[in-house]
Point group: C2
Chain length 142, copies 2
């Protein structure tokens, strides 16, 4: 009986040790993910809304953004797409029809990755919009 | 020797089982976190850059944004702050000095939470900026 008790104890403690180690890794990972955006550079491509202008968000999501993202390699942390709904001030026009954002580690690598494809990227614009975007480069502070 | 081998085997497999179970939970959690922004509403407060205008990003980060965030309760998923660095187009002026963004679950709850504090929020503007912000309400598509 004693040997069984020892075996059981060893099994339980080794299982718990593995669990608690992995739990700790997972907690650290989550904490890292939560703060991971801080310090990143954002390249935010904003399409100002104007009546009569077109913006095909389906094409933008399934074709254009994945194409550009594909040029960026491991410098790209993530990219997001948002659709403008309203102006936050009452009775004001929608400021932007849509916004696409690349979260990158550094701007230099972004520029040299995108540079050789600039013509292809611009040529694709006509497939989803006739709006000239405003592009903001910013740093995530928080 | 045989009993030792069995013990070792049991310890190893029970440890692995615990590890692999937790690993799976952690993978699922990460996947959920990665897609968690999709469908959220963003209230993006954009401060257009203009020469001679002020923006105290320290005050904005430590006082103003936490104050507003504090009104939003569990409707607030997260908020971010970014500092404008440059225009993405060469030889163009910086479009925005700073941007603050609230990621919320729904706009109605945001409006009714902020409504009673509108005067306090506006009164605090003078403590960090003299820029009139543009506010975009948008939906995270991706």
């Amino acid at each position: 009986m004693k040997i069984i008790a020892i075996i059981s104890f060893l099994i339980l403690t080794s299982g718990y040790a593995a669990f608690s180690q992995e739990k700790q890794n997972s907690d650290t990972k989550e904490r890292n993910m939560a703060v991971a955006e801080k310090g990143l550079i954002k390249v935010t491509v904003m399409y100002p809304y104007a009546e009569g202008k077109k913006f095909d968000i389906g094409y933008y999501e399934t074709k254009h953004m994945p194409m550009v993202a594909g040029f960026l390699g491991s410098n790209l942390v993530k990219y997001t797409i948002e659709k403008g709904l309203a102006n936050g001030m009452p009775n004001q026009p929608l400021p932007f029809a849509a916004i696409g954002t690349f979260y990158i580690r550094n701007l230099k690598d972004y520029q040299s990755a995108v540079g050789p494809h600039r013509d292809a990227i611009r040529a694709d614009f006509a497939n989803y919009t006739d709006i000239v975007p405003t592009i903001l480069v910013s740093e995530v502070v928080r």
